[in-house]
């Protein structure tokens, strides 16, 4: 026979277990909106039953249950979905960065609009036609000068803005590198705490949640790979080298590279070895900075050069209003420094509209106006307009593609997040149901305590009186 107080012990354990389960429920409800939180469950299990097999075990039938205990507090989490979210989130972040940059490029080119280069070019050529119509008239020459100054200014401004965007992107690279370092240090700290806690057999649920959140952040920035040690430490690798190692963090540095116009190159802070990125935000930023923007700048530059060379050649073939041979119309070497030649800015009669030297002859101005349709680019296969329209069209296609891919990736991440939420998220109704469950179990156990109290009362006070 078991001891008289055996039942009371079961009740004590029951009360403790239900109270603990209720505490876990309270924690869940409290964190219903905490990012990265996964719901926890107090796993209830029976305590070891009485009696254990032995030679001297009592003759009473067994086994007799001894009550309940909380075997562990576990978090509900699907590591596989986490891995998928990290993977797809990385691509989503990459396309978002590219899409953001391209939409800024779109704003810079400002097409289609009356202020875009296309319209400014169009007005420039028309102004030459006007001069061809009335070459003797100072007023139309003045209007041509204004259009030419506007065109040169618009080309320079567009080129400059692309350069500024490039600098901005470059700065973002350094910000992202700082973020990588910060996240790596935080993950390293959490690793230590988690290892300490789990060494004594506990579950570091909330710390793991926090670490998962940090790793998810980090995966968006860089294409890191992960591996968890048996002690619960999460090692983070970048290009095969540990960023977060077991014993230390290897930090990254964004160092100005004199070979690449002092744009920052990302390298390991200790060895100075460059780091390559294949996916994630930094990869996107580097691609935009080193390939996308320079390509647009290059095309703009080619357009400016074709404009300068061809207009100047034709202009030099003509004569100005004073009968003198024409000089250069534009100065500069490309899109960065194109401008109207100073003598022409100062003296409108210097515009060489005449092919013969006579004032009423606008033939040369007409020849310059006809450069609009001359195939003077891409080895004589395209006009300036063709090339520019191609550039804008390419920009549109790239921007649209990036936007679509970003939207697709976002949708994918969202679907995965919903799946994770279905496993790890907190459902208030469920928690309240659990609360009622545990509360009733607690009340019932308390009621049992009274029953035992009465039994003992009978046994101790009434018996043998």
């Amino acid at each position: 026979m078991t001891s008289a107080f055996f039942g009371l012990d079961i009740i004590r354990r029951a009360l403790a277990a239900q109270k603990l389960a209720l505490d876990v429920t309270a924690h869940n409800i409290a964190n219903a909106n905490t990012p990265g939180f996964s719901r926890q469950e107090a796993v209830q299990a029976t305590t070891p039953p009485y009696t254990i097999p032995a030679l001297n075990r009592p003759a009473a039938p067994g086994q007799l249950g001894t009550g309940v205990q909380i075997s562990q507090i576990r978090r509900l989490r699907d590591q596989f979905i986490d891995a998928q979210i990290r993977q797809e989130g990385q691509s989503a972040a990459k396309w978002k960065a590219i899409s953001d940059a391209l939409s800024q490029v779109e704003v810079i080119f400002n097409e289609p609009s009356d202020q875009g280069l296309s319209a400014v070019f169009s007005r420039f050529w028309s102004a030459w036609q006007e001069v061809a119509r009335a070459p003797e008239t100072i007023a139309v020459r003045a209007s041509l000068r204004e259009q030419a100054v506007t065109l040169a200014g618009a080309i320079r401004h567009t080129y400059e803005q692309l350069g500024q965007l490039r600098d901005q992107v470059d700065y973002s690279v350094s910000v992202k590198v700082d973020q990588i370092n910060t996240l790596a240090r935080q993950i390293f700290d959490l690793n230590r705490q988690i290892a300490n806690i789990e060494a004594v057999g506990d579950q570091a649920n909330d710390l793991r949640d926090r670490r998962d959140l940090l790793v998810e952040e980090l995966s968006k920035i860089a294409d890191v790979t992960l591996s968890e040690t048996s002690t619960g430490k999460l090692l983070v690798f970048l290009q095969g080298r540990p960023l977060v190692g077991e014993t230390k963090v290897a930090e990254l540095a964004a160092v100005p590279d004199p070979l690449n116009g002092n744009l920052r190159s990302v390298q390991w802070a200790d060895t100075g070895q460059p780091v390559a990125f294949n996916n994630g935000e930094v990869a996107a930023l580097l691609e935009v900075r080193d390939a996308t923007i320079p390509a647009y700048q290059g095309e703009l530059n080619a357009i400016a050069q074709a404009l300068i060379t061809n207009v100047n050649a034709q202009h030099r073939a003509g004569f100005d209003l004073n009968g003198a041979a024409g000089g250069d119309f534009f100065v500069g070497t490309g899109a960065s420094d194109i401008d109207v030649d100073a003598p022409i800015k100062a003296d409108l009669t210097r515009i060489a509209a005449s092919a013969s030297g006579a004032p009423g002859d606008g033939t040369n101005a007409l020849s310059i106006a006809q450069l609009q349709f001359a195939k003077i680019m891409n080895g004589g296969t395209a006009t300036i307009d063709d090339v520019y329209r191609g550039l804008i069209s390419q920009l549109g296609v790239s921007a649209q593609e990036a936007k679509r891919l970003q939207e697709n990736q976002d949708l994918l991440v969202e679907q995965l997040t919903i799946r994770r939420e279905a496993i790890s998220g907190v459902n208030i109704d469920e928690e309240v149901t659990n609360m009622i469950r545990y509360q009733h179990a607690f009340e019932a156990a308390s009621r049992l305590a009274r029953a035992y109290d009465e039994i003992l009362d009978t046994l101790i006070n009434e018996l043998g009186r």
């Binding site: 009335a134 307009d385 920009l395 649209q400 969202e414 907190v426």
Partner: protein
């Protein structure tokens, strides 16, 4: 599947976000009237839009060139036509002089009158438009003809003003004055000399014939100018039709269909309201509401 409260609110917010984004896009389209506001809105149509805009701008230039050409051609034609009238009067006087019945006094009077008519012809040959001389070739700022005593000098050159009235179609819009008037002036100067000298024989044998040749020359240039004017006019009509066509194409490529957008906005608004209503029902209640 387990559905959590966070899923409900996140889903609700996401759907609202999508609907409001679409609403905003539609409102933008309605406000600007344009379907393409940045290249990525429709990269395939955009080059066409830019091309059509350029083409329309170019058409404006051609149309301005055409109206300028028409003015120049009409004025030159009108000048030659007045010259023809004057020359016909001179011819009558020459015929009267060649008659042989007039005394030298009368011949001198005829010579004075012809002299005045010559000055009138020179004035006609020096016609200008907007400060630019019509018959001076490229030397549009210098009067083409100057008379000093019995010599009329051509100060212009042999340049011909041209205008591009359509892609690659360049037409001449002036005729160098020397081709039109130089022979005429020499003939009239000769006639005046003959009249003063009483050289009637020469007038009847050569001068009248020369005057007829000059007249024919004038008439042929007049016809040429008239023909060019007609050609320009033709081109203008064609370009006007073409312009309407281009505008139509441009409108199709970049303008929104207002009716369609309004209908779409209405539809989105309905979705928006429905999403709000659904959210209001879903987000509010929990089990707690029923446990009182």
């Amino acid at each position: 599947m387990r559905v959590t409260n966070r899923m409900l609110t996140l889903g609700f917010l996401r759907n609202l976000g999508i609907t409001t984004t679409r609403l905003q896009e539609l409102q933008d389209q309605l406000a600007t009237g344009k379907r393409i506001r940045r290249p990525s809105d429709d990269p395939t149509s955009l080059p066409k839009v830019l091309f059509l805009r350029d083409a329309l701008k170019q058409l404006e230039v051609y149309q301005a060139n055409i109206s300028d050409s028409k003015n120049l051609l009409a004025l030159a034609e009108k000048a030659i036509s007045s010259a023809v009238e004057v020359v016909q009067e001179i011819r009558q006087d020459a015929v009267a002089g060649a008659n042989g019945t007039l005394a030298q006094d009368s011949l001198n009077a005829l010579a004075d009158k012809t002299d005045a008519l010559l000055n009138q012809l020179i004035t006609i040959a020096n016609s200008s438009y907007e400060g630019r001389y019509l018959f001076g070739g490229f030397r549009t700022l210098t009067p083409p003809f100057v008379r000093t005593g019995s010599v009329v000098t051509y100060q212009g050159d042999l340049g011909t003003l041209t205008r591009e009235i359509d892609r690659g179609a360049v037409i001449d819009v002036s005729i160098p004055g020397s081709l039109v008037f130089s022979n005429l002036f020499d003939t009239v100067l000769g006639l005046i000399d003959d009249l003063r000298a009483g050289n009637i024989q020469n007038i009847s044998s050569t001068r009248i014939q020369q005057i007829d040749q000059a007249l024919e020359n004038l008439l042929s240039y007049q016809a040429q100018l008239g023909a060019r004017w007609a050609r320009t006019e033709n081109t203008e009509q064609r370009l006007m039709d073409f312009r309407v066509h281009l505008q139509d194409l441009l409108s199709q490529s970049e303008d929104v269909d207002i009716a369609e957008v309004i209908v779409n906005i209405q539809a989105e608004e309905n979705v928006y309201r429905a999403a709000l209503a659904a959210g209001a029902r879903l987000i509010q209640p929990t089990l707690l509401d029923f446990l009182r």
